[in-house]
Each structure stands twice: as structure tokens, then as C-alpha cells.
């Protein structure tokens, strides 16, 4: 995203001076608000363009006049057929091939064997155990509803991503065209994807699957492109000299050699699929996500926790399995190893599966566990939670009141008070100071577009929530990261926790905050903070721990005390990495603010939910783009700064 020109640093003093002048103008505009004409305070009507109407017109044109809806419906019918097959196998939906549902024991055994094959008995325990938990807790059908969609959506997303990635690698213009689209796509909030899908495809599992595919494909495109670019020229040349034609060269030489990146892409696709499938409950996707949504809305904490645990287990299992696949290298058997030894795992699997089917035949409990037979601990959880809440209530009530009265409301008012022209000037000035004239113009364009959509106030509220959350995240995450980075074992533990937490679908983070604060603004911000804390902590640790040991030792030999060393040596060096973490925190926070809309906020997210409800594509996309622009603005500023810093420090 950063061109070489933006990184070159020759015009530094002039640049900063011009930037400062613009920031000064911004301050003057803000201070002089009371004498400003109204049109400089709020975007005047002539500036607000009816983008939503245009988009709606365009969609209607494509949908009805060009008859595109038949294409999408035909595509959806194809997807639905696949979904019916997996739905039948996994939870016995009454569709072809009418074989299902497969006994839960069989699926658990298969999962455990895959886990064992990928990374030994620990992973076997995790994957098998996940399914046992789901079955025993009586959530089998819901979990299978969720998985039946992932099983269809993930491979299609992988394939689509792979093909787009290859096209982008082969043709420079495709890459150039895709790049901005991917940038925006990856900063659009989840809901923005759902509305067009509802328009074109409708509601239910197939729309859930399709929105999941669309949402999950971009990282695959990126990773495929990266992987293909990284294939060493010698390997490609050795393929050419072996007489491979283009097709053979691509599929037998380049793609297999990009295996690692492609598998990392697959891991990302799977995790994105899970995140989206859970959220797609908003457009009628059944399964664990929908159950969680309903239970959370009904404030049934105990049952939400049970479902939440299942979702978390599935997330960890999928993540661990796909990551193990990335590092799993093929291994040879020594000569003379007999056939049954070579295929030991397959035989074992076949044997155990037969046992499972037999058991299912004679023992209903080994086939399906009904909800009446299932274990449940929600009453106990509820009791514990209730006691805890009674205990914590004075604190949370006080905190809630204090935050709303003394922090959130004043902060929101200040944000809303600012004239939009001052914000524009300020952002442009910052862009100029950090980057160049080009950065200033980019920033100006992003904010200007938001002003032109007419959603200025809502966008400002979103910004205020995100910026408050990010401030809190920095205040907690930075010290936490510094503390964790002081000892290797501790750092590894915290990193592990962060990595694991990062795999959870964002929805999960709502459970504890709803439990503590109920359904309101503070809960929403709480969820954003918890969610954003993960990347901040993670990158702080990584930044501090990746300071070269020689520099560390040099500082020791200069007699720096721990504190001096931290602030004078390690921290400045780690800052560019930490900035990347900050960037992710902002993006994560934006997403979470939007998701949290359903527990009652007043920002863009709320409007987006309205747009989703009234299937207003234009409004939904415009709002989505507003969110994306905020994200891209921050992304541009932080990455430009970080790249400059890295060049200045000579670390790449």
C-alpha cells in the first residue's frame, strides 16, 4: 500500500512545516466555531450526494434489467444442492442422498483420527473431544448446521481465492485492479456483505454460505499471490528445463511449491468462514450462531456460555488442525515396511468407524443424543454468574455510571461539537506530517467521502467509540505486553492466549460483557476493548522480543538500568511493530463496534442494522464504505508512519 515515493524522506522539514500549518488551521477552525457559517460546521446539503440512491439504482438495474438475479439464483441453487448433501449427512435434513445423519461417534472418531494424523495425540484429543462435548451437551444439530455450511463454503472460497490469486499473479493488471478492491473488502464490516446477498440470494443457509464465501475469499487471494511470487525462480526454471508446458508448470511446479502460503491461506479462509457463519445468523443462517444470538438477546447467560464454549472449541480445533497441516511435511517410509504398516492410520480409522456404525445400530445413544438426554450445566453457570453479578454489581453499576456520565458523554459531545471542516483540515495536516502531500490528499479524500455520504454524525459517533476503546486498549495492552515480554515463558504463554483468542469469532466476546454490563453502550465498548486488546498485546510482545540481542547487550554494557533500557532502547526499536498492532486494534475495534450495534449503540452500526432489516443495499453499502474509509485512513497513516520509521531505523 505504501509506494517508494511515500517512504523517501528527503523533504522532511518542509513537509512537517506545511502539515503543522494545516493542523493550525484546523485548531483555528475549531476554536472559532461560533463565528463559522453553518455550512462549515456540518456538511451542507449540496455536499451530500445521494450515493445510496445511485447504488440502489445500479443494483436494481443489474438485478432486474440485466436479469442478473437469475444468474445469482442459479448459482445459489447449485450451492443449495451442495448444502443439502452436507446437511443430510451431518444432521439428517431430508434431502438427497438421504443417508444421514451420520452417527456422532463416527464424526468424532474421524475428527480425532485427522487430528492424530496431523499432529499426534494432543490434537486428536482436542478434535475428538470437541465433538464429544458438542454431542454430550446436546448441541449436535446446531453445530452440524454450522459445520455443514463451512464444509461447503470453505472449499469454494479456497478455490475461488486460488483462481483469483493465480489470475492476479499471471496478469499484472488483474493484480492492480484487485488490490484496492481487496483493501476495501477487508475493511468492510461483515454486515455490508450481507445486504446485497439478501437482495440477490434471499435468506437462509444458502445465503449464509454465499456471504461466507465472499467474505472468506480475499485472504486466500492474497496468500496465493504471495505464495506464487515467492516460488524461487530456480524451481520455476527447473520446471521449464524439465520440459513442462504452462499448465504443467503452474499446477505441478508453482502451485505445489507455494504450498506453505496456500495452506496458510486455507487456515485463514477456515477461520473467516467460522466467524462469518456465526454472524450470518443475522440473515437466517441456522446453527450455533443463531442459537447464541437468540440466547444473548434473551439474556440467558448460562446457555450462551455453553454455546460459546462449543464455538470456541470448534474455532481452536479448526485453527490448530489447519495450522498443523501447514507445517506437516511429507515423510517417507523406510523400505520394506509392510502395506498394513504404511496404511496403519487408515486401517485404524476404517475399523473404528465400522465399530461406530455398529454401535449406532444397536445403541441409540451412540447414534444421536437427544436434547432430553444431554448434559447441561447452564443452571449451575447461571447460579455462579448470578452470584458473581450480585457481588460485582455495585462496581459495574458505578463503573457504568461513571463512564457514561464523566467520560463517554463528554467525549462524544466534544467529537460531535467539532466542525467538519476542522476535522478535514486536521486529518489532512496529520497526513502531511506523517507522509507526504499524497498522504494528505488520501486522508482528505477518505474523510471527505464520509462527509459526502451524509452520515457524518453517525460516523463521528463510531469514531468516538473506537477511539475511546483504542485508548483503553493502549492503556492496558501496552503495559501487559511489556510485562509479558520480560520473561520468555511468560511471553510464550501470553502469545498463546492471544493467538487462541484471535481465532474466536467476534461474537463470542459479547458474552462476558453482556453478562457484566447488560445490554447497553458500556457493554458494547467493553466488547470492543476485549477484542482489540488481543492484537495490541500480541504485537507489543513481538516488537519488544524481536529487538536484536546485540543491541540489548550493548545497552547492558552501557550500564542502562532496566527502565532506561526499556524506554531508551527497546521501545523505540519496537515501536514500528507495535504500530502495526495498533493498526490491527483499530480495524478490529471498528468491526466490533459495528457488530455490537445489536446490543444497542447509536452509530453507523445501528443504521447498518436498519439497512439490513429493510434490505436497503445502497444505504448498507454506503454505511459499510464509511466504516471502511475510517479503517483505511487509520491504516494508511499508521502503516506509512511505521514504514518510514523502519527505514529510518534500518530494520525491515
Amino acid at each position: 500500500m505504501i509506494s517508494a515515493e511515500a517512504v523517501s524522506d528527503h523533504s522532511r522539514p518542509g513537509r512537517i512545516c506545511q502539515g503543522q500549518i494545516i493542523i493550525l488551521i484546523a485548531i483555528v477552525l475549531a476554536l472559532g466555531k461560533f463565528i463559522l457559517p453553518e455550512s462549515l460546521i456540518r456538511p451542507p446539503n449540496w455536499l451530500v450526494w445521494p450515493f445510496a440512491d445511485w447504488i440502489n439504482w445500479l443494483f436494481d438495474f443489474i438485478k432486474d434489467d440485466l436479469g442478473f438475479i437469475f444468474v445469482t439464483r442459479a448459482f445459489a441453487a447449485g450451492i443449495e444442492w451442495l448444502l443439502d448433501v452436507t446437511a443430510n449427512l451431518l444432521y439428517g435434513r431430508n434431502r438427497w442422498p438421504r443417508l444421514g445423519p451420520l452417527p456422532w461417534t463416527f464424526i468424532a472418531i474421524t475428527a480425532a483420527m485427522i487430528g492424530y494424523w496431523l499432529n499426534g495425540w494432543k490434537l486428536a484429543l482436542l478434535s475428538g473431544g470437541t465433538f464429544v462435548w458438542i454431542a454430550v451437551m446436546g448441541q449436535w444439530k446446531w453445530a452440524m448446521e454450522t459445520l455443514s455450511v463451512i464444509v461447503v463454503a470453505a472449499p469454494i472460497a479456497v478455490l475461488a481465492g486460488l483462481l483469483c490469486g493465480i489470475a492476479a499473479w499471471r496478469h499484472r493488471w488483474v493484480e492492480r485492479a484487485l488490490n484496492p478492491i481487496l483493501n476495501i473488502a477487508q475493511s468492510l464490516p461483515h454486515f455490508a456483505y450481507m445486504i446485497p446477498v439478501v437482495v440477490f440470494i434471499g435468506v437462509g443457509p444458502k445465503s449464509g454460505a454465499i456471504v461466507t464465501i465472499i467474505f472468506a475469499a480475499p485472504p486466500m487471494i492474497r496468500m496465493t499471490l504471495l505464495g506464487l511470487k515467492k516460488v524461487s525462480s530456480e524451481i520455476a526454471e527447473s520446471g521449464m528445463m524439465s520440459g513442462a508446458n504452462r499448465w504443467q508448470l503452474l499446477w505441478q511446479v508453482r502451485v505445489p511449491s507455494a504450498r506453505t502460503e496456500i495452506l496458510v491461506g486455507i487456515n485463514q479462509v477456515i477461520m473467516q468462514c467460522l466467524a462469518m457463519v456465526v454472524l450470518a445468523s443475522f440473515i437466517g443462517m441456522p446453527g450455533l450462531g443463531q442459537k447464541l444470538l437468540q440466547l444473548l438477546q434473551a439474556l440467558k447467560i448460562g446457555r450462551s456460555v455453553e454455546i460459546g464454549v462449543s464455538i470456541v472449541l470448534i474455532a481452536i480445533m479448526l485453527d490448530q488442525c489447519s495450522k498443523a497441516w501447514v507445517v506437516k511435511e511429507p515423510k517417507h517410509f523406510e523400505k520394506g515396511v509392510p502395506w498394513h504398516e504404511r496404511h496403519r492410520l487408515k486401517l485404524l480409522w476404517a475399523g473404528l468407524s465400522c465399530l461406530a456404525f455398529l454401535a449406532a445400530e444397536f445403541l441409540p445413544l451412540a447414534d444421536q443424543i437427544k436434547r432430553t438426554q444431554a448434559l447441561t450445566v447452564y443452571k449451575q453457570i447461571d447460579t455462579v454468574v448470578e452470584r458473581f453479578i450480585i457481588l460485582a454489581d455495585p462496581v459495574t453499576q458505578w463503573l457504568r455510571g461513571f463512564l457514561i456520565r464523566n467520560v463517554l458523554i463528554p467525549m462524544r459531545d466534544v467529537y460531535l461539537w467539532l466542525p467538519f471542516t476542522a476535522v478535514l483540515a486536521f486529518v489532512a495536516g496529520i497526513g502531511w506530517v506523517i507522509g507526504s502531500l499524497r498522504s494528505a490528499l488520501i486522508c482528505l479524500a477518505f474523510v471527505g467521502m464520509i462527509a459526502m455520504t451524509g452520515w457524518w454524525d453517525r460516523a463521528v459517533i463510531t469514531t468516538y467509540m473506537v477511539s475511546f476503546a483504542v485508548l483503553v486498549v493502549i492503556a492496558i495492552g501496552l503495559p501487559l505486553g511489556i510485562w509479558a515480554s520480560r520473561a520468555r515463558a511468560r511471553a510464550r504463554l501470553v502469545l498463546l492466549i492471544c493467538d487462541t483468542a484471535q481465532t474466536f469469532p467476534s461474537f463470542i466476546y459479547l458474552i462476558p460483557v453482556v453478562m457484566l454490563f447488560g445490554v447497553n453502550d458500556v457493554a458494547a465498548i467493553g466488547a470492543v476493548i476485549v477484542f482489540g486488546l488481543v492484537p495490541m498485546t500480541r504485537y507489543t510482545i513481538e516488537g519488544l522480543r524481536s529487538v536484536p540481542p546485540e543491541i540489548d547487550e550493548a545497552a547492558d554494557m552501557c550500564g542502562a538500568a532496566f527502565r532506561q533500557k526499556l524506554w531508551k532502547v527497546r521501545f523505540p526499536l519496537a515501536l514500528p511493530t507495535i504500530a502495526v498492532g495498533l493498526n490491527q486494534t483499530v480495524l478490529f475495534s471498528l468491526f466490533m463496534v459495528i457488530i455490537a450495534a445489536f446490543i444497542g449503540t447509536q452509530d453507523l452500526g445501528q443504521e447498518m442494522q436498519r439497512a439490513l432489516s429493510s434490505t436497503d443495499v445502497g444505504k448498507g453499502l454506503v454505511l459499510g464504505l464509511c466504516v471502511a474509509f475510517i479503517g483505511l485512513l487509520v491504516d494508511h497513516l499508521i502503516l506509512t508512519w511505521s514504514a518510514r520509521r523502519k527505514v529510518a531505523l534500518g530494520i525491515s
Binding site: 524461487s232 530456480e234 524451481i235 526454471e237 527447473s238 520446471g239 521449464m240 528445463m241 524439465s242 520440459g243 513442462a244 508446458n245 504452462r246 504443467q248 505441478q252 511446479v253 505445489p256 511449491s257 504450498r259 511435511e329 511429507p330 515423510k331 517417507h332 517410509f333 523400505k335
Partner: protein
């Protein structure tokens, strides 16, 4: 080896420029522009006006430091890179005139190449790596397995057919690379710094192995190296490159004895010439009677005669060729000068 036999590869006045629209630039290039002038115009002249001929069964070593254009040149000879100007004729075909299909056909039947970092396919076993070129040209499974096993035996890796590349040491991996490049029985064998990534001991071992193979196979070889010792050790002829230009192309003895440019001379300074120069290059007319004396072989290196030169004080030694016929004398004085350097 090379004498009088047909030319397999010939390249004439080959240029390779990197940059935007190199052909357009090449057409307008002022004569007398050197490497740096061209670079200032925004182009890299990786190969400049290179002309070479490789005869059947000959081993040509292209030697140069990194960035000298040697790897680019060998890629021009195999059309892994399109040349900017000039022509490359391989087995009578103008390489740049071949269609993609014909080029692939040529590679499938006539060319093999070994790479510096081996270029093995990480997802295939040793056997499947070696069989890869055969698979590409559509040979059936049984036949290609048989042929691949032969090749694996040839390079001494029998028993490791089912290993994956990452399970092998560097030297073993390069043996796989060599086996693969030989699987289709190529006439022309390109080796791009095949031993540079190996540590010195293994490198030496692999060079011996390579000489053994060449002894059996007798291919036409283009061998790239940045190691002058290696070049001297292996080459029938050496081409020395600098900044895209071939500075000198000649037999090792000639290069050592008569460096064409100061740049070449700098390489040869450090070399113990007596190891390289064969007696045949020092043969002179006899000035006295030599009949009685025990003759020396024309193909021996001067170094191998050191002991005799010191113990035997006669001024001239008779030199015989492979058939045992006397072809002249070796003057003790000139031989000792070569051994111990000229008196200064």
C-alpha cells in the same frame, strides 16, 4: 576431446538488456557505451555482445564473479530468458525462432540443467523428482520409474528413492538435481553453479563425481562457476566474463600463460600455474641430444614433474605424446620458472 567435431551451440553477438523496452533502447544504443553508461540510462547490460561456440562433447566453463552476467548468459543459451539481440543456434535450430511448443520439445529431448540451489520440487520424492521431466514428456509410469531408478543409481543415491528433498543433505540434493537433469538423456547439459551452495569438502567430492560422470557420458557441457580453481579443474575451455562481456575464452593453459586482459591476469596471479599448465604447452625444439633420457608425457602437468626437475639437472627433457612419439623437449629453465615463479 573437442578437436574438429561439430558445433552444438553457437551464439553470436548476443545481448541481454534488462529495463523497460530493451529492444527499443538497444536500437538506439550509442556505440562505445560501456556497462556504466548503459546503467546510467536505466538499463542493465547483463550480457554484451557474447559470441561462443561449444563443440560436441566439450566442457565449456563460464567463469565470473557475481553480477558478471554468466548466469544470464546460460539462461540465454537455454532460452529461459529471451535475448535482446544476436542469435543462438542449438543443434542447428535458431533458438529464438522456435515456437513455445518446439522449445518445450527441444528441452524434453535435448537439454538438461542443474541449478545452484538445486530447484527440487519439495512435494515430490527423490524418485518423482528425477522422473519429473519424463512425466512431463508423457512417458508411461513403469518406464519412467525404471529410468529414474537407473539415474538414481548412477549418482549413488540408491535406497533413498522415497526420501523427500528436505530429508537429504545439500550434496545429496544436488545429486538428485544431477540425476533429474540427466533423466531424459540430454545432449546438452547446463550446470549453473551446481556446487556453489555446498561446503568445500563436499564440493570437492562432487567435482570428482562430476568428472567421473562426464567420463562415462561425454555430454556437451556449459558449466557456470565463480570459482576459478573449479573452472581450471574441470574445463576444456574457460570463458571469463566481466560486466556482461566475455573477456577471454580459451584453454586453461592459455589463460594462465597468456591472460588477454588485466582483469583475467588478476585471477591468474593467485593461481599455482604449474598445476594447470601441461607439458605440451612448453614443448620446444631440442637444442642437444636427448635420446638417452627418460621422456615425460605431454599431458602431464608441470607440477607433477617437480621432483624430477629438481633431482635431474639436465637442461632438456624429451616430451612424448600419447602414442609415445617424441614431439620435442621440455626446457628445465622454463619449467622451473613456471614452478617457482619468475626471478624478480
Amino acid at each position: 576431446m573437442a578437436d574438429g567435431s561439430e558445433t552444438v551451440i553457437s551464439c553470436r553477438d548476443v545481448w541481454k538488456l534488462f529495463g523497460n523496452h530493451p529492444e527499443r533502447y538497444f536500437a538506439s544504443i550509442p556505440s562505445g557505451h560501456n556497462f556504466d553508461d548503459i546503467r546510467n540510462d536505466g538499463y542493465i547490460a547483463a550480457v554484451r555482445s557474447a559470441s561462443l561456440e561449444i563443440s560436441r562433447g566439450e566442457m565449456l566453463v563460464i567463469m565470473g564473479l557475481s553480477g558478471s552476467g554468466k548466469s544470464t548468459l546460460v539462461r540465454c543459451l537455454s532460452r529461459l530468458l529471451e535475448i535482446t539481440a544476436g542469435e543462438v543456434i542449438v543443434e542447428g535450430n535458431d533458438l529464438s525462432a522456435l515456437s513455445e511448443k518446439e522449445l518445450i520439445e527441444l528441452r524434453r529431448s535435448k537439454m538438461g540443467m542443474v541449478f545452484q540451489s538445486f530447484g527440487l520440487l519439495p512435494h515430490r520424492t527423490v524418485l518423482n523428482n528425477v522422473a519429473f521431466p519424463l512425466e512431463m514428456r508423457g512417458q508411461d509410469r513403469i518406464e519412467r520409474r525404471k529410468r529414474a531408478l537407473e539415474m538414481i543409481e548412477l549418482v549413488g543415491l540408491t535406497g533413498r528413492e522415497d526420501y523427500y528433498p528436505r530429508e537429504l543433505s545439500g550434496g545429496q540434493q544436488q545429486r538428485v538435481g544431477i540425476a533429474r537433469s540427466l533423466a531424459i538423456e540430454p545432449d546438452i547439459w547446463f550446470l549453473d553453479e551446481p556446487f556453489s551452495a555446498l561446503d568445500p569438502l563436499i564440493r570437492r567430492e562432487m567435482q570428482d563425481e562430476f568428472l567421473r560422470l562426464q567420463g562415462i557420458l561425454g555430454k556437451s557441457i556449459v558449466f557456470i562457476t565463480h570459482d576459478f580453481d573449479e573452472a581450471l579443474r574441470l574445463a576444456d575451455r574457460i570463458a571469463i566474463m566481466k560486466d556482461g562481456l566475455i573477456e577471454q575464452c580459451d584453454k586453461p593453459d592459455q589463460i594462465v600463460l597468456n591472460p588477454a586482459t588485466p582483469y583475467v591476469a588478476k585471477f591468474t596471479e593467485e593461481i599455482e600455474k604449474s598445476r594447470v599448465v601441461h607439458v605440451s604447452h612448453l614443448v620446444a625444439e631440442p637444442s642437444g641430444d636427448i635420446a638417452e633420457m627418460e621422456p615425460v608425457s605431454a599431458s602431464a602437468t608441470v607440477r607433477s614433474l617437480a621432483r624430477r626437475l629438481i633431482s635431474d639437472a639436465s637442461e632438456e627433457l624429451p616430451v612424448v605424446d600419447e602414442q609415445g612419439a617424441v614431439i620435442g623437449v621440455l626446457k628445465r629453465q622454463s619449467a622451473l620458472e613456471l614452478l617457482y615463479g619468475e626471478r624478480s
